[in-house]
Point group: C2
């Protein structure tokens, strides 16, 4: 990653670009894009304004780069948690646990998902942000759908289930965790909701603890 092989010609930069990007992301994450000033970013990264400009361009370009950075991290997390070496239930449990750990990692309290906390607001009026958000959501859907199809091939889930629809609902659980954590809900409540979502998606209906007698299911009325 670090290509410091041939030393550059002039004065060496006093910052690590990727670390600065991470700090900038932290700042946007708490306050949102619009409420974060260049002074805030300068203070968070330790870079003064001209250096910020030279490294990333203007505020919006910097923000778009943080979105790409977050997407790359999310991609890696999806690949790791949804690996095919364990049952689908375990994979989803791992996915939701990893997400909650991230959503609750803020210094100023829980802050949820970076995309939902910052990009969702800008998405209406900024096409680039909207595109990044839509692509990120699509990647999550696709990764979960691929894992569900694997579970279907392995006989964990009935083969005629709509894997795409189920994946989008599994992603919906992720979305609600992100939103609710940002709204201040307790982590234990979100863990319970994640577990209930897994039960619903993987085939066991949500049942009040203490009254799970038999697991057959009523059919819908229509």
């Amino acid at each position: 990653m670090v290509q410091k092989l041939v030393p550059r010609r002039g004065r060496p930069r006093a910052y690590d670009p990727d670390a600065a990007l991470a700090r900038a992301m932290e700042t946007f994450w708490d306050a949102g894009y619009a409420a974060t000033s260049l002074d805030d970013l300068s203070a968070a990264t330790g870079m003064n304004r001209p250096s910020l400009y030279g490294a990333f361009g203007d505020k919006r370009a910097l923000y778009l780069e943080t979105l790409e950075r977050y997407r790359a991290a999310a991609r890696a997390a999806l690949k790791e948690t949804l690996a095919g070496d364990r049952p689908l239930r375990e994979a989803l449990r791992h996915l939701y646990a990893t997400a909650l750990a991230l959503y609750f990692s803020g210094e100023h309290g829980a802050r949820g998902c970076y995309l939902i906390g910052t990009a969702a607001t800008e998405a209406v009026l900024d096409p680039a942000v909207r595109a990044a958000l839509a692509e990120a959501l699509g990647e999550i859907d696709a990764a979960i759908e691929a894992r569900i199809r694997l579970a279907q091939r392995q006989g964990e889930l009935r083969a005629d289930a709509d894997s795409a629809a189920l994946a989008r609902l599994a992603a919906a659980v992720l979305h609600t965790l992100a939103l609710r954590s940002r709204a201040g809900e307790q982590r234990a409540a979100l863990e319970a909701t994640a577990a209930a979502g897994i039960d619903l998606i993987c085939g066991r209906p949500a049942v009040k603890p203490g009254s799970r007698r038999h697991l057959r299911r009523r059919e819908g009325s229509s």
Copy 2:
């Protein structure tokens, strides 16, 4: 509602406070709280800045009032769509259809839910916004849970299902619709996701169209 009974003493106000509040909300809805300036609000409402100040207080107080207005509308919509005069499936279908109609009603394209589009961003650093958001989400959960319990009493849903957990997952479908519409997803895709969510919650598994042979369900692996 209108108490114009006894005419006030001084010069009559040239605006309708509630209509102005609605216009202000439209403005926040598109751009978010932080990116909306008082000039934007002045232009949208037709009120000049001193009038805005006299009527609502500062920008934040005005925003908090729009949140209350939205919550009141949401409360009314929940009551209407979740009425007990039809099956749960129909009630949820009506709820999601009403929500989608709202989420796609923006002038600058779909904008999703007002709370998710604006309040979620401010919630981390503004306790009042966070409280309003949390209470609004709680009201939605509670309304859906009450409707689910009714369905259980009427035998539509098995009585030992965890109504609170199911309600939070039904709300999660609402949250994902709000987010995805703001991300630019097509309305038809969201309608399909809503239908799949109803199937999952009310008891019929999501099945690929064209292969719904029998409706029995696999059990979870654990």
